[in-house]
């Protein structure tokens, strides 16, 4: 029978880093087993979604510049609002958030 071995290099979608998969020998036939994981809580799904979005964000080479631009933009608007007697707390928070994202 023809066996095809793929290189794992083309397989992971989220990690473009070397995978050291060495060839082993003399290992028994695999056991096919059911998953042991329990059903996760809803907040676990939220956590996973956030993690995945964060990983995608890190792949966006422009994101740091985007975040910095937003931080500057909101800081400038905060000054404008303050100068006109408005409440600029939301804008200052926004500027701080995107400043931290830009680091």
């Amino acid at each position: 029978m023809i066996t095809y071995k793929h290189s794992l290099w083309s397989t992971p979608t989220l990690l473009i880093v070397a995978v050291m998969v060495a060839v082993g020998a003399g290992v028994p036939t695999p056991t096919i087993a059911a998953p042991a994981a329990a059903t996760p809580k809803v907040d676990q799904k939220v956590k996973i979604q956030k993690e995945e979005e964060k990983r995608l964000k890190k792949q966006d080479k422009s994101y740091i510049q985007h975040a910095k631009a937003l931080a500057d933009q909101y800081a400038a608007t905060a000054k404008l609002v303050a100068s006109r007697g408005g409440d600029n707390r939301a804008l200052l928070d926004a500027a701080a958030y995107f400043e931290s994202e830009a680091k």
Binding site: L14, R55, S62, A67, R84, L91
Partner: protein, 743 residues
Amino acid sequence: MFTIRKLMGILDGNTLKKVCVPFIPIAMGLTLLGTPVAFADNAVNLKVLVITTGNTATGDPNIGLSYIKPILDEMGVRYDVLNSATQSLTTATLSPNSCTVGTAGCVGNYNGVILTDTDLAGNFTPSEWGILHAYETNFHVREAVLSGYPGWYGTYRDTADLNANNVYLDYGLATTATNPVAPYNATWTIPTPATNTGINGADNKTVFEYVNTANPLLITDFSFAATPRNDNQGPRDGTIPKVIQLLNTPKGEALVSIIQYYKTPAPALPVREVLLSSLNNAWFLTHSQVLGYEFVNWVTQGVFVGGRYVYMSNHLDDLFLENELWDVTSKKTNPLLLYRLNSADISNAVSKQAAFRAAHPTAGSTFMLDFAFNGAGAVVDPLATTLVTNKTDDLVAAVIANKSQFRFINHTFSHADMDNVPIPANPNCDYPTLSTTALIQAEITKNRTIWTQLGLPDQANNNRVLVSGNHSGLRDRKCTDYPELHPAMANVQDDDVPFITGANPLFVTAAANAGVDYIASDTSQINQAIEQHFTVSNKKVALTTNNTARTMSPRFPTNIFYNAISPDVLVSEYNYIFNERFRTLGQDPCTVAGAICTPRNYQEIRDAEATAAVQHMLSFKKYPHFFHQGNVAKYDAAGNTLQFDWLDSVFTAYEKLFKLPVKNDPYYLIGDKTKDSLTAKSATIKAVWNRSTNQVTLSANKTIPNLLVTGVTGGDIYGGQYIRQISVTTIPKTFTVNQLLTQ
């Protein structure tokens, strides 16, 4: 759903008379009011203007443009971008010779305006805001704002204007002092048609109709929250904004709203409308992808060149071959551990497929897996001159018996590598190469012979598509493919020559000779996540605009690895790749891009995969996801498989967000659509919507056989809208607008 009232809803009283006279006959019959009068001065191009802030320091577009541009591109919507940081908006930008409605022959340049930021980072002068709002009012063109600070009354005042009311920008909202803390669930409050009788064009049949609004929308990034002021104050043009909240924080504050501007006194119909989001939107956020379509659809009033569908096709490569498996003990792929599907797996897959269809209505009743097969594994002797299929083989017999339950794709006869022959010769190359076009072509045609012998369905159509082994032939791996054979290399892909320089001209020539139109690529590889035509020119592979050349048809990989057949194997390998091996090397995976901080269990992996795949679906890309034959192995007594676990997780997540049916197209049809899309993008299209006659006139500088247009009579009804394929030529053709939804 678009209604007559919706169209009328954006008009002021005077213009309403102009539009309704010809519009009523379309709805009620031409005999009622006689031949409609053509008002050539009430027309707009079907094109969107995107106004962004840009980033002059880095030359990089802003986050909102990075978000909306792929959506516009994927749908085939025509648009221009104006960078407010470097370009001024003038009346001539918006209409020829600054003409206005009422000028004979005047056609507004845009039928929708999208702003990436609420205040465009201060780049617009008060005068430019005035020009924009005047155009929107005069031409009855809507505006969408993707993100930003919603403001408060008094934020944007023209200091040069000494009038008492010098506010030039006002969204009718007051931003709350405290921003919501993400993640949180936002709730939908879109009025129903029955309850919105006082509101025009802002009910759940006209906006976000495709969204499953019964469920909250998870917001995972920054947002401003605001409350409608309803204080009878407005901008200096004399209008009063009325806010209709659509999506809200848990406290009921507005996140996404429609703002309708009314003239006073006694407002009847709004003179201008804005769809405003104060959420941070970006391409990598799921909530942004849920909202994305409506920013385009709503501003264009549901009439635009282009269209969108949601797609999901799953390819299982290597049918009839066996794959080596991951060894959970040694944490390596073990050549002694092998798996090839058997008849029980095939029968189980048929049952699971039926159960999947029943459980997920959006998948439809005909959802099918596609097997990309290698005939060498289905014959008595793959080296024989005359190939004979081994019909007594358990798997081969099962596939023949169930061939109507699946689709099939040519994956070459033996899964041969199609990369360039190394020069100079390299006896230590990780993979053998084929030195002539004829040898490569034989890999394609021999598999067709097996297709015929097995009697698999739909061969003629599928002869036009090819999935090469390991997507080889499109990049040059330079003989280094297996990390274990090259311990000195940090990454065996470091020396790869990507597409197009690394593509093998022998392979492309062989595919052309064999009549292959569409060649599969892997979106995770450089330059392969692009729909494009390519050919051989001067013995090299080159891009071309010639649509009779080969067309790249990208496929998404997943993290359901080829060498995993059960959850425990997958969990072991997944956590090794993304976490453990970094710890083994003394690194902190939390600091490595793409790695995960903590290992995941099977359910968490499924959730992560669902997040990624749903984002792919919501991008409207047609690309299939590819797997391998072992992924559909039955791993427990209940008949569960990694493949159907993945599908179930993905569709469960999708159906929480969207209501749209999912297209499950065969690969050749995806190729045809890709070709159509490329043809449309290469053309200069003229599309004008004459609101007086309520007709769209289309022409192009060359023939476009299947141009997608949304909002004209005929074609598919999808998501409650007409999406029609139209043959467009240099000769203008006219089509009746129909935003009315029938379901």
